[in-house]
Symmetry: C2
Subunit: 329 residues, 2 copies
């Protein structure tokens, strides 16, 4: 997972070219997919917007899956998003993964005129309309937020019935929603392993209740940093990761987590059982432990935060691709 | 200008790769820019969506300008569009051209919940907010359609103050708006030369009234098809262009043109003084005639319509690049 958020004043053209180089290297190393998130009005970070950048990245990522983790459904119109996702599915040769979420930053909802208190209802209605547009020939819809007069989405996605819908969720209520509405829950990167174990059990129960099978491809998002030695990994990652998590506090990300998993604690405690930071052996063990305890099969690693130099990002990619991934093939 | 509209049932992955080949060839031939339009719910055509496709095309178009002709402002939120355009400006290395229009297809406005009768007012307000987001540090806005609570667009466009705003317009009222609100009017491809001459005079008067200079880069959109011999050019273009213009009638494009310029007439009359279809010598003369009579300096040629085979498109690009463009350098 690329972090397309960059420090204020960072040379953004150079950052773009660094992203392209990251994707080319990841492809050569045999990574399966590349992903990025979506936010708006990302003070203090400069943020490259998701849909045009995913289009651009696809040129470097031939043969890889490309995912949005995640599109903020309550901010968008379902016709707009259904057409953009169908187009991204064509551009990626039928390898797009449609990650979606409700969002948590009130400023985004307020600016888009999409009340924060309506975001759950908008999420569900937007997703319903998108699915119908992708799968039905003629759609007439009269909902709480959207009205469609007999319309046809002429460009259908390459993947039928549509790209996989991966629902990101942090809270228990979100996990229930992911089971009900999604093709898979994207396990969140912010909670501790103990919390996630409890939430995976909840997810299984909700899938059972809905009569849905456990997803074959079960994804987790994870902050990961790898260096030849664990002490260096910790030292190099800390300033960037710590300042990113301070921004999360300012953005309100911690407010949607279970209460015991807040971010306002010393970095060593923040890291424990939550991020994977260490040497290759440690990373292999942690990945195996997450796989065993949670049943996750698809790891989306974010190994880059605002300000981490490109050389470090590329070295981490190389170590992950050569020292860690082959162990799990 | 690519036409990313394809016949129902056409193999869309192949069409995408044809577009990529078209852009690569145009770049090798020394074309200055590549552009595409925007529409939604494009029955009967399959339409690749503009923002993700422009992102993808940028990879093949290094060094070329990339334009949207045009983004339909009344369908979008200004924060969304301002961030997407800023990102496209980064992706193109500061070579994005932001073409905008009010649209004319009621179905798009109805589906997006953006009343057709409000499209002019929404266009103006959206453009105003986008400009402020690009150029001001902190924006607070309270308008008829949008409310922004003290927000900052952290990613500014590479081009300062922002990418050129080219306003497409067909009607006289639209030409006035283009003079008032845009950096340039994109002369429309649908009217006859006589009508355009009258409208360019109107445009000059409106610029004078607004105290604005005539744009250094004055663009026209033009349907063009070129073959080694004029009879063949006519024969090959007719079925595709005629059926595209029948769709325009169904979509209502002709309703926004001056009354004398409707589309419901025999093809030979439709073509006359309106499209450029012929051999290289004829195309050179027609381009020179448009330049002399209208003062246009930037020609955006659409030489491709739903169903025209790729070999013909590439041949037309080659003839244009080798037999026509060098005459005007």
């Amino acid at each position: 997972m690329l972090s397309a958020q960059h420090q204020p004043g960072a040379p953004i053209l150079r950052r773009l070219h660094e992203h392209l180089a990251q994707v080319r290297l990841a492809r050569r190393l045999g990574f399966d997919s590349v992903a990025m998130g979506q936010h708006y009005l990302t003070t203090p970070y400069q943020h490259l917007q998701t849909v045009p950048l995913l289009g651009r990245l696809a040129a470097e990522a031939e043969g890889m899956a490309i995912g949005a983790t995640v599109l903020l459904l309550p901010l968008h119109h379902p016709v707009e998003l259904a057409e953009q996702v169908a187009t991204l599915d064509v551009i990626t040769g039928g390898r797009f993964i449609c990650g979606v979420g409700v969002g948590y930053r009130e400023i985004e909802n307020e600016a888009f005129g999409s009340p924060f208190g309506e975001r759950i209802a908008r999420f569900a209605e937007t997703l319903e309309v998108m699915r119908r547009l992708w799968t039905e020939e003629v759609v007439t819809f009269e909902g709480r937020f959207f009205r469609l007069p007999r319309v046809t989405l002429t460009l259908k996605p390459v993947q039928r019935p549509h790209p996989p819908i991966w629902v990101a969720a942090n809270s228990d209520a979100g996990v229930r929603r992911a089971a009900q509405l999604g093709d898979a829950w994207v396990v969140n990167p912010h909670a501790t392993l103990a919390t996630l174990e409890r939430q995976v059990a909840l997810y299984r129960r909700c899938l059972d209740e809905a009569g849905k099978p456990f997803p074959a491809d079960f994804p987790i998002l994870k902050e990961l940093y790898i260096a030849p030695e664990s002490a260096a990994a910790r030292r190099e990652a800390q300033p960037h990761l710590a300042s990113k998590y301070q921004s999360y506090v300012a953005w309100g990300q911690d407010k949607v987590l279970p209460r015991e998993d807040g971010f306002e604690q010393p970095f060593d405690e923040l890291v424990r059982d939550r991020f994977i930071i260490g040497d290759p052996a440690f990373c292999r063990e942690e990945i195996a432990r997450h796989h065993e305890r949670l049943g996750v099969t698809h790891f989306i690693f974010r190994l880059q935060w605002p300000g981490l130099p490109q050389a470090k990002v590329l070295r981490a990619l190389r170590l992950l691709g050569t020292e860690v991934i082959p162990r799990f093939r």
